[in-house]
Symmetry: C2
Amino acid sequence: MENINVSVIGAGNVAHHLAVNLQRVGCNIRQVASRSESSVILAKKVNAQAVKSVAHLDRNSDLYLIAVNDDQINSVSELIPDHDKLIVHTSGSVSINVLPGQRVGVFYPLQTFSKDRNLDFTNLPICVEAKQPADLELLLQLGQLLSQNVSILNSEQRKAAHLAAIFANNFTNHLVFLTQELCEAKGVNFDLLRPLLTETFVKINQSGNSLENQVKKIQTGPARRNDQKIIAQHLVDLGILPRHSAIYQTLSNSIIKTYNEL
Amino acid sequence: MENINVSVIGAGNVAHHLAVNLQRVGCNIRQVASRSESSVILAKKVNAQAVKSVAHLDRNSDLYLIAVNDDQINSVSELIPDHDKLIVHTSGSVSINVLPGQRVGVFYPLQTFSKDRNLDFTNLPICVEAKQPADLELLLQLGQLLSQNVSILNSEQRKAAHLAAIFANNFTNHLVFLTQELCEAKGVNFDLLRPLLTETFVKINQSGNSLENQVKKIQTGPARRNDQKIIAQHLVDLGILPRHSAIYQTLSNSIIKTYNEL
């Protein structure tokens, strides 16, 4: 298992973190295919050969790992020279069915990767799927080399997890950006908000796993109280910031509906 | 300073945490006024007298600290027996001008309080305001007994900070609730999202203080790339969850505008 031969397709953040960490746990990263210059850097880092096109990959790997943009997965996979080897993609939102042949699967790390931050893989959630039981077993074992947190998810569940990740990461990050922008617009030091952000996260993190448990219960604020007078005043105050107003309104409506309907 | 005599008006979370912590640093909490039963519990805890109505407070305190709902601050303040003593409220969004007389001020702790969690006050942001310089000095000193993080904010700035807090706390908490709800609806274990939430917070927390610095730069996702095809697909997938769809749409629009306009 540790000596499995891998060809990596793509040289972005996901390709980079997976290649480096798979090598760390003993996999043999043989080739890295990407048109971009960063394939040379990644190939050097993991002691692999850099090739310019997927069509130039050889047939000598056991696993072809695709880590490219969602809309390129299908076309890239068709170029892989040997469809009898295991071909997997690493995307949350793309179905297993876009891959050619029967030996196909998915190896999806549910995390946000940055170029310059090394992530601890120990508890990183890895979601695997495969068409054939033997390939599923191989992907489970490969995942478990990297992480204690490997799950089998079908394409529908993985798509849902990916959507949930957009709420948990993309949208919360944007809310904090809007917080910062509001502070700058009004001459307030954003540092004043940091202890609140920390406490907000601590309370969420301590919350339980079901809807009945706490994240719902710890909600506060004017929308939670359905305080229409304060909400109207806040919308007046935000008038000069149209994006803030729209989001204040939509999120307040959602909070009001959540606590009035249930 | 430490021996200042304080009457607390209100017995909710803010009244509770402020009374307990002011006593801890040496203030003498003499009376607690509230119609609710919890005033008896709080009064007992800080060794004070519980009174049922603000009108029954005596004139022997140096500071009357109002911690009631925003819309009751004005009426409650009128009932305080002695308008020559310093009267302050603790609200983010209410102007100093709702308080009667000239010896008035604000003592606003910018944090989310829970009944059953003790907060470390050491770095808790306290925003103070007063009409008279001597009172402002007193509130600064009082704040500094509790925290190393005391700022002078006028009513406009405090209102902005309070609005920013709604984005940073109320709305992020609701987004995590929606994440949890989405997971339950689609049969995905919410635990899979926790490492992502942690990493999201760590990255935000490491970010700098200005708009040019990172919270804006670390944004990822389909809206960041203005990937209309994926966004349309996600809205189809969320069709059965109307609140999720509305928020997905509004936040994606805001992200698209943020990165296309600037």
